[in-house]
C-alpha cells in the first residue's frame, strides 16, 4: 500500500478518474480508497467516492438520452442504456462540451452490431444505426454556423438567381427515418418501420429546424443544385440520369419551386 504522502498530484487525478470512468483505478492499484479519501462522520471513504462515480454515469447517460431521444424510444430505456453505457465505456468524452458526446455513437453501433459476424444480417440494426446518425446530424445542423437564416423569395424570383440555402441538408435512408422521427416528436408513438428507401431534407429557418420527407426525384434535383448546378442544368441532369422527360420536369417545376421556397430550401 502506498502512503498518502507519496502520492503525486498527477497520480491522484489518474487514480480518481480511473475509478469514475472505468470503475477501477487506472494508475497504481496499490492506492486503496481508504489511503486517499477521508471518511466522514456519516460516510465511509468508498461511499464518498461512489457519489462521484454514480453522478458521472447518471450525467452522461442523461446526456445521451437527450441527444438521441427517438433512438432511446425505439430501443426502449433498458436496451438504450445498455448501448449507451458500453459506448461511454469505449469512448469516454474528450471534449469540453457535452454537445458532441454522441458523435461516435452511430459508428459504435455499426461496429458492435449483434449480427456483425453473421452472414445473414438482420434489418433492425440498420434502422437503429441510421436513426442514430440522423439524430446526431440534427444536433449539428441546429448549431451550424450560417449567416442570416433569413431570405425573402417569391415564386417570381428568377430561376437563374436561385441556389440552395447553406443550411439545407439532404439525406437518403434505407428506412423511413425522417417520418419515424417526425412521428416520434409529434407523440404518435411510431412502431419500428419496415425497410424502404426514403429521402428527406433538413433545413433551418429563423434558427428552427424543419424536416421534410421528399421524393427521390426531388432529392436528386436538389443534390445537383447543391453541387453548384443551376435549375436548368439540374433538370437536364435529372432527365439524363433518371429517365425523366424534360417537358414533364418543366411542367412540374413551378409547383416544386413554390414548395421549395415555402420550405426554406432556396436562397439567392
Amino acid at each position: 500500500m502506498i502512503e498518502s504522502n507519496d502520492i503525486s498530484l498527477p497520480q491522484l487525478q489518474n487514480w480518481m478518474q480511473g475509478i469514475l470512468v472505468k470503475g477501477r483505478p487506472s494508475a497504481d492499484e496499490r492506492m486503496t480508497i481508504e489511503s486517499v479519501v477521508n471518511q466522514s462522520q456519516r460516510l465511509s471513504a468508498l461511499r464518498h467516492l461512489n457519489i462521484y462515480r454514480s453522478s458521472y454515469i447518471a450525467r452522461l447517460r442523461a446526456c445521451m438520452q437527450n441527444q438521441f431521444v427517438a433512438l432511446a424510444y425505439a430501443l426502449g430505456a433498458g436496451l438504450f442504456e445498455s448501448f449507451a453505457d458500453q459506448y461511454l465505456d469505449s469512448y469516454p468524452s474528450e471534449s469540453y462540451t457535452l454537445n458532441t458526446l454522441g458523435e461516435k455513437f452511430p459508428a459504435f453501433l455499426e461496429k458492435t452490431r449483434p449480427d456483425a459476424s453473421l452472414e445473414q444480417k438482420e434489418s433492425w440494426p440498420d434502422f437503429i444505426i441510421e436513426l442514430a446518425g440522423f439524430e446526431y446530424r440534427l444536433s449539428e445542423i441546429f448549431d451550424q454556423e450560417a449567416a442570416g437564416d433569413q431570405m425573402v423569395l417569391t415564386p417570381n424570383t428568377p430561376d437563374n438567381l436561385l441556389k440552395l440555402t447553406p443550411v439545407l441538408h439532404l439525406f437518403h435512408h434505407q428506412f423511413p427515418i425522417c417520418q419515424y422521427y417526425l412521428d416520434f416528436i409529434q407523440n404518435k408513438e411510431p412502431d419500428l418501420p419496415f425497410p424502404g428507401k426514403t429521402y428527406c431534407a433538413v433545413t433551418r429557418r429563423d434558427y428552427k429546424l424543419g424536416l421534410f420527407v421528399i421524393r427521390g426525384a426531388q432529392y436528386h434535383f436538389l443534390k445537383s443544385m447543391q453541387e453548384g448546378k443551376s435549375v436548368k442544368k439540374s433538370m437536364k441532369y435529372l432527365a439524363k440520369n433518371f429517365e425523366f422527360k424534360i417537358e414533364d420536369l418543366e411542367k412540374i417545376w413551378p409547383e416544386w419551386k413554390s414548395t421549395f421556397i415555402a420550405s426554406g430550401f432556396l436562397s439567392v
Partner: protein, 313 residues
C-alpha cells in the same frame, strides 16, 4: 513596474455590483425576449454558446443588447494536471469579445486528465503543491484572456487525506497570489460542509471578503447522510442564512440564483431570486435544525439539460 497580479486585483476591485441575476436557460429564451423582465443581469454558461452558430448564439446576442451578462464556465479545469486547453480558451475569449461580460468565472476544480473530460467538477487536492500548480495555471489563463478570472468554490463530496489547507484558506492564497476574484456559492459551502464535516459559518467568516465579486444561491437535494447540489428546487432556509451572513461580510455583491433542472416558469424562478432581498439586512443566528427535509426516496436529479442543446421545432 506594477505586477499583472496587482493590475488584475485592481480590476476586480473596480467591478460593479449589477444586483440580482438569473441564469439564462433555453426554456426562458422566448419569455425573456418577449417580456423584457426586470432582472438586473443574466449569467450564461459559456460552453452553451461558444460553439453555437445557431439559435443559442442568436438569442445570446439579443439578450446581451438588453442586459448585463456574466460568463460562467464549467470546463476550464484549472486544477487538472493536463495542459490548459488553448482551443477552449480561444473560444472563450472570442465569446467574451462578442458579448462583453462584466466578468468571466469558472470553478476551483478539475474535470479530467489524459485528454478525457468527466464533465464533473472534481475536487482539487488542497496542499501546497496543488496551490502552486493552480496559481500558475490561473496566471496563464488570465494572461491569455487579458483579464482577471473569477473562481467559485465547488460542491464537494469527498476530501483527500493529502489535503493540508482548508478550502477557504486555499481560495484566499489563490486570490492573493494571482489577483483573481472569487465567486462564493453559499449553497456549495452548505453542501460541502454537511458532506465533509466542517462548519459553514466559520468557512464564510474566514474567506477574503474583499475578493468576492459574486455569490451563488441554489437549491439542493438532501439524501439523508449526504447532500447533492442539484440546483433543482427552492433555496433552503439554512442557505438563506448563510447568504445573509455573507451579504453582511462582503457588504453586498452581485447575487445569482442557479436553477438547472426541473426549471420552473420564469416568474417562479424570478420570485425565488427576489427572496434574497429579505435576507440582505438581517443578522440571523445560525440554526441547522431549522428546515424539515424530505429525502431518502426521491431520485437524485442530475442537472444536464442546461448543458446540452434544446431543439425548438
Amino acid at each position: 513596474m506594477i505586477k499583472k497580479r496587482d493590475q488584475y486585483r485592481e480590476i476586480i476591485n473596480a467591478l460593479p455590483n449589477p444586483g440580482l441575476g438569473l441564469g439564462l436557460r433555453s426554456k426562458h429564451f422566448n419569455y425573456i425576449l418577449e417580456h423584457n423582465p426586470a432582472v438586473d443581469w443574466f449569467e450564461v454558461i459559456s460552453e452553451n454558446f461558444m460553439d453555437s452558430g445557431g439559435r443559442p448564439r442568436h438569442i445570446l446576442r439579443q439578450v446581451a443588447e438588453r442586459y448585463p451578462l456574466v460568463m460562467h464556465g464549467v470546463s476550464l479545469s484549472i486544477g487538472s494536471t493536463d495542459p490548459l486547453n488553448k482551443e477552449y480558451l480561444g473560444k472563450l475569449k472570442s465569446l467574451a469579445a462578442e458579448v462583453k461580460p462584466l466578468w468571466i468565472s469558472d470553478h476551483l476544480c478539475w474535470t479530467g486528465v489524459n485528454s478525457l473530460n468527466t464533465h464533473d467538477l472534481l475536487p482539487v487536492l488542497l496542499n501546497e503543491e496543488s496551490l502552486k500548480h493552480i496559481c500558475s495555471r490561473i496566471r496563464i489563463a488570465q494572461d491569455f484572456m487579458e483579464r482577471p478570472l473569477v473562481f467559485e468554490n465547488p460542491s464537494t463530496y469527498l476530501t483527500f487525506k493529502q489535503s493540508t489547507i482548508p478550502e477557504w484558506e486555499f481560495l484566499k492564497y489563490m486570490a492573493e497570489e494571482t489577483g483573481c476574484g472569487l465567486l462564493l456559492d453559499v449553497n456549495n459551502v452548505f453542501v460541502s460542509a454537511f458532506n465533509n464535516d466542517f462548519d459553514p459559518v466559520n468557512y464564510i467568516n474566514q474567506l477574503p471578503h474583499d475578493r468576492i465579486v459574486q455569490m451563488h444561491i441554489a437549491g439542493h437535494q438532501h439524501c439523508g447522510d449526504y447532500i447533492i447540489d442539484t440546483h433543482d428546487r427552492n433555496v433552503v432556509r439554512e442557505v438563506w442564512k448563510l447568504f445573509s451572513q455573507a451579504w453582511q461580510l462582503t457588504g453586498g455583491v452581485a447575487t445569482l440564483l442557479e436553477w438547472d433542472s426541473n426549471i420552473p416558469e420564469f416568474d417562479v424562478y424570478h420570485a425565488e431570486l427576489l427572496k434574497a432581498k429579505q435576507y440582505m439586512n438581517r443578522m440571523t443566528g445560525y440554526d441547522l435544525d431549522a428546515d424539515v427535509q424530505n429525502y431518502l426516496d426521491a431520485a437524485v436529479s442530475n442537472p444536464v439539460d442546461f448543458l446540452v442543446n434544446d431543439f425548438k421545432w
